[in-house]
């Protein structure tokens, strides 16, 4: 039995090393003086400086953040509605199709979704004149469609585990259904909503394929800039950018994790 534990532990450690090694290498190389990112030339933070003056990257980052934020808010609303529908209503017309529609965006390849959305936007433009040219709004719409699927999964799980008699108790005490939702359900599923928001935000910030398909002139997102830079080979500024992103996200996730943990303990 002990030998097995050692074996498992080794695999686990290897797995984590595998997962985190590349990320660490990114960060280490971002401090490399040499332009040839992987050949060490000394310690330097100049790439961070250059990065912060790179208009193209900064502009793209700002666009991405805007899109991601709007997308996250809309995805949370739509995803929560879908989760409510699937958990609270046992039977309704279109339930089976809603289940499929809510799962598919998470699993189907982005290229298919991106292509199909582009075709939709082109046809819509031809038919009703909107969207007039693709850009921030089309990217946002595409992201919302995919993000809401993830939000639904997260919220649905929390909702399903919630004691339904809480809602019944509120109804019994005189609260109308809408009040029940805002006064009781929402506070209880709030962590899931927050997690969903973050998830949607992250996915949007990270998306390359969808944005490439449905963007237009002047709307270049951060991943698109990174991609075009990276196609040409390694770039130290990208390393710096990568490191910043990793640190930012890790701290955010760590904080969220701690907050969630504390709240779960309190509501036990």
């Amino acid at each position: 039995m002990n030998r097995r534990s050692v074996l498992l532990l080794t695999v686990l450690l290897f797995g984590y090393a595998f997962l985190y090694g590349p990320i660490l290498s990114l960060i280490v190389y971002s401090f490399n003086e040499s332009r040839l990112v992987t050949v060490w030339g000394g310690f330097s933070t100049k790439w961070y400086g250059e990065l912060l003056h790179n208009e193209q990257i900064l502009g793209a980052a700002w666009l991405s953040i805007k899109i991601a934020a709007i997308n996250a808010c809309a995805a949370v609303v739509l995803g929560t509605l879908a989760a409510l529908a699937l958990v609270r209503y046992r039977r309704f017309r279109g339930r089976a199709s809603l289940e499929v529609l809510v799962t598919a965006p998470m699993v189907l390849p982005d290229v298919i979704i991106g292509l199909s959305l582009l075709l939709l936007f082109v046809s819509m433009e031809a038919l009703i004149g909107w969207p007039a040219g693709r850009g921030q709004s089309t990217i946002t719409l595409a992201h919302i469609t995919c993000s809401m699927a993830y939000v639904t999964v997260v919220v649905r799980s929390r909702l399903a585990h919630m004691d339904q008699s809480l809602e019944e108790a509120a109804l019994d005490l005189g609260a109308r259904p809408l009040t029940v939702f805002f006064a009781i359900t929402l506070p209880i599923i709030a962590p899931a909503l927050a997690a969903g928001w973050l998830l949607a935000f992250t996915l949007s910030m990270d998306d390359l394929v969808l944005a490439s398909f449905v963007s237009g002139p002047g709307s270049t997102t951060l991943p698109m800039v990174v991609y075009s830079s990276v196609r040409l080979g390694v770039s130290p500024q990208i390393n710096a950018l990568a490191s910043l992103i990793v640190v930012l996200v890790s701290s955010a996730v760590a904080i969220a994790g701690v907050l969630l943990y504390r709240q779960e303990k309190r509501q036990a």
Binding site: S165, L171, D172, L173, G174, I188
Partner: protein, 378 residues
């Protein structure tokens, strides 16, 4: 003591006699192909402590939920204080419920939990605070006002749930297995407190339980349910002493059942013969029975007493003691009759003895009064 309800009962008709608090008329509800509740009708008067008793699946919880408004019956009507509430949603009924899981709102303090219903009724803050105070004192949890549910023990949570459900001074309070999660000592204590509170407030309490002891202790009337229908509706004493069916007799407490047929009847004195024993059995039966009719004779263990050697008595049977269960206050004995039938009888341990007064394999003669047994036709 009961203040007028916050919502006036809609459409109340003026009548001479007070309308029953709750009136169920031919309520039927099925889930899929099974009947959860099958054509149930009953009336509950204001101020009653009423229990719905039965095993799981008998429909008692479904009935309660229909009263609360969480399910609607497929057929039948629900009248509360004379008004038809069959299709009225739960938040518009003058009924409140105490849930089995307590269902305390985890993100609110005890005080806020209790105040929730009052907020929905648009009570002013001043009045709300007073009412919450009053409720907390009623169930003795005033010290816990600021705490959150997860910081409370099971018994404390139960009190909060009770206070919250009573805060709006409902005419009717529904309780779903209120004592199920409590340990035995706490259960006994809480039973008395519940009865006290109910009598002080004059609220109609309707309790769902599977625990017959609980129902017997607290209720003014019990509806014994079985497979969606009411088996017997009676006060506890009548239910116990005069069960109407074999099921009712077996469900509550212990019972001895004899398959018998009628020999003769003289007024309300009836004589039966049973294959389980040689003696003729005497009982009381007000209905007209014909000789040869098949009946069941039911007699409770505590009604059977020992006869001394040579002593005579009605319903005299011989038996040999096979098993003894010592329960502290009483001892339960199983005696085997000549035909093989086992008879249960109990004796209070009136004297403090180190050994049982009766021993296994001891031969005894038992007897019971004709008044103390019941004749059952079903």
């Amino acid at each position: 003591m009961t203040q007028p309800p916050l919502q006036p009962a809609p459409g109340q008709e003026p009548s001479a006699a007070p309308a029953p608090s709750v009136c169920l008329q031919q309520i039927t509800k099925s889930f899929g192909s099974t009947y959860a509740v099958n054509n149930v009708s009953l009336e509950i008067q204001q101020g009653e402590f009423f229990s719905l008793l039965g095993p799981s699946g008998c429909g008692k919880t479904t009935l309660l939920r229909m009263l609360a408004g969480f399910e609607s019956p497929d057929r039948g009507r629900i009248l509360i204080d004379g008004a038809d509430m069959t299709r009225v949603p739960p938040y518009e009924r003058p009924v409140n419920m105490m849930f089995q899981s307590y269902a305390l709102f985890p993100h609110m303090s005890v005080a806020d939990n209790i105040a929730f219903g009052l907020k929905q009724a648009s009570m002013t803050r001043q009045l709300r605070t007073e009412r919450v105070q009053e409720m907390m004192e009623l169930v003795q949890i005033s010290a816990l006002a600021r705490r959150k549910p997860h910081q409370l023990s099971g018994g404390q949570r139960q009190r909060v749930a009770l206070a919250r459900a009573l805060a709006r001074h409902p005419r009717i309070l529904l309780l779903d297995e209120p004592l199920g999660a409590l340990d035995r000592k706490l259960r006994e204590k809480t039973q008395f407190e519940l009865v006290n509170i109910q009598q002080r407030l004059g609220t109609t309490f309707i309790v769902v339980t599977h625990d017959q002891e609980e129902a017997m202790t607290m209720s003014s009337r019990i509806a014994l349910m079985r497979e969606g229908q009411i088996e017997q509706l009676d006060a506890p004493r009548r239910l116990y002493e005069f069960p109407a069916t074999r099921y009712a007799a077996s469900f509550i407490g212990s019972i001895n059942l004899f398959e018998a047929r009628v020999l003769r009847q003289n007024g309300d004195e009836i004589t039966l013969a049973s294959s389980d024993t040689d003696s003729e059995l005497q009982a009381r039966c007000s209905e007209k029975m014909l000789p040869g009719m098949r009946l069941t004779l039911a007699v409770r263990p505590e009604k059977i007493h020992l006869l001394a050697d040579g002593e005579l008595g009605p319903n005299r049977v011989r038996g040999r003691i096979k098993e003894i269960a010592y329960l502290g206050g009483v001892s339960m004995y199983h005696a085997e009759l000549p035909g093989g039938k086992r008879l249960q009888f109990s004796q209070s341990n009136v004297l403090a003895l180190a050994e049982q007064p009766l021993r296994p394999e001891q031969d005894v003669v038992l007897s019971w009064q004709p008044d103390s047994c019941t004749v059952l036709t079903e």
